[in-house]
Symmetry: C2
Subunit: 329 residues, 2 copies
């Protein structure tokens, strides 16, 4: 597919290539008739400027990078979808990088991908803060998703703290006093937020007991934690996310434990299927697609010299479904 170049259009239209360039970029300082002729020729030749050459000379690519830790995770899928949708509405393209949970590669991947784009939107929940701090200046403009506020860099996050508090309050109102918390990824940012909220709730109500059980972030690790949850004597479990909750739900059910009669289970995220488990899952609904959209909005502001909102926080909504019920006495 040999595409027409600007010189051919210029020659065909009998003008210089600068004139063609001006016309194509809508520069009004071109004689109307001439401009029309150029447009005609360009249309006839199917010409449009080579984006690569344009990128090189203009110093911008109209493309941004999105770095996610795991494309298999429904939450990141939703973030990506919201992001992609919003960016394309503004005429931007999206280059995607899946780090596949290799935290040790995250920095290099981010830096590498950044060189091909105008900025990076980073989902790196497990990257240590000091490394993040070191990375950010190297990849700016950047927007960070689901991390605490960062200096100089806009942040867009769901508030896992209030989500946790809300879920705990819900469980307490149901009479639960002993909770199992399936902590997910070690040292993840949102994990810390959950932990702090739990500590606060414990402080506020001495009758509340929360036993932390370490688990992973996916379905299987939820299932694997079933015995530990059952052994803990908790009447309700707070899972790190819906995937974990579903794994736990599946595993305890197959052990003959009835949910929510014998054990209440709540998750985080409200991924698409959470409404259709049996019983449907009580969860804190994280507006992931919105997160993606807001992240783009911040990036767009950065890219166009505007003032981005610095630290956007979206409050998850507690969605009570059927996996939580009053504590058995």
């Amino acid at each position: 597919m040999p595409r027409a170049k600007i010189t051919e259009v210029a020659r065909e239209a009998g003008v210089s290539l600068s004139t063609v360039s001006r016309v194509m970029n809508g520069n009004p300082t071109v004689d109307a008739a001439l401009a029309e002729r150029v447009r005609e020729v360009a249309a006839r030749l199917g010409y449009s400027a080579n984006p690569l050459a344009r990128s090189l000379v203009l110093g911008r690519t109209q493309t941004i990078s999105v770095v996610v830790p795991d494309l298999a995770n429904p939450t990141f899928q939703a973030i990506l979808r919201g992001l992609s949708h919003a960016a394309s509405k503004d005429g931007y393209h999206v280059l995607i990088s899946d780090t596949e949970e290799r935290v040790e590669d995250e920095q290099e991947i981010a830096v590498t991908t950044r060189r091909r784009t105008d900025g990076v939107i980073l989902c790196a929940p497990r990257l240590p803060q000091d490394e993040l701090s070191a990375l950010l200046p190297a990849i700016g403009p950047a927007v960070v998703i689901n991390r605490p506020p960062q200096p100089e860099v806009p942040t867009v996050s769901a508030d896992y703290g209030v989500a946790t508090a809300g879920l705990i309050a819900h469980l307490q109102s149901l009479g639960h006093r002993r909770l199992a918390f399936l902590s997910g990824a070690v040292r993840s940012a949102s994990g810390e937020a959950r932990r702090r909220a739990i500590a606060a709730a414990s402080d506020a109500d001495p009758a509340l007991e929360v036993v932390e059980i370490s688990a992973g972030v996916d379905f299987d690790s939820g299932a694997a934690a079933a015995d530990a949850v059952l052994a803990s004597g908790a009447t309700a479990a707070l899972a790190f996310n819906d995937l974990v909750a579903m794994g736990l739900l599946s595993a305890v059910t197959s052990r003959g434990v009835r949910v929510p009669d014998d054990l209440s289970i709540a998750g985080f995220d409200d991924i698409p299927f959470s409404a259709y488990t049996s019983p449907p899952l009580t969860t804190a609904s994280v507006p992931a697609a919105d997160l993606g959209e807001r992240a783009w909005a911040a990036m767009h502001a950065l890219l166009s010299g505007g003032e981005p909102e610095t630290d956007v926080t979206l409050a998850p909504q507690i969605v009570v479904r059927a996996s939580t019920a009053p504590a058995a006495h």
Copy 2:
């Protein structure tokens, strides 16, 4: 982040920029000692070649485009994941375009994104064949997913025909004689394959009756078709995909119909959640991530002058779970 350029490295190392270029590209015709010095300086300055400039001069970007109709669809998510993983292993980046089901924009989106990359992998199940034929030459190298074999262009597909046949055979062996088929997207390629397989099965067994009920491709359209399915008198339903099956399952269950006792339901795809509905869904498991990987393999071959497999077909596997059972007498 002003990055070091090749001229600075050259100056700093006291050599010409071509020497630096040679060293950076591993050209062996450079004196070992000199090369070492250059590498040292490059490392010290944190230099690496600007990919944009490289792309312009080399005529390749090390990036490919993936065009999907809907990023919210688990199947395309899985394809994308497999693709992204495979491509990144080969040092390629992935630019993603979600056409958001706007078939009328698919061609322009594909052409536009193609200009920024070295090729496009196209998921466009609903694009009419004549438009596809017209599009393909304009975006080559291209690989097409889930469409019939195309001239000149490698194709990677799941065989929805054998999947349909397998599911029907399964249902027949269970004693079902009257099936409801929830046809999904009008004029989709895989839809045609399903339809042909149904026709073949009907021809082969006159006792088999299949009533086609038109529905969409998502959960809601499955739910919306519930009444029609129930009214059809079918003892089993074949849904266009798992999403539709789940919608149907949910809706009929809430109407007091027991699945699978009163009605058997089967889907297509085996999306991650299909194993966890209640009852778990019988479905034809489409290896979506593999599809993505194979599509990349074909593209990679195209890009490196190799011979791609022309028409890869992956056979879905019938996964019998609990949503199908013997027909009630």
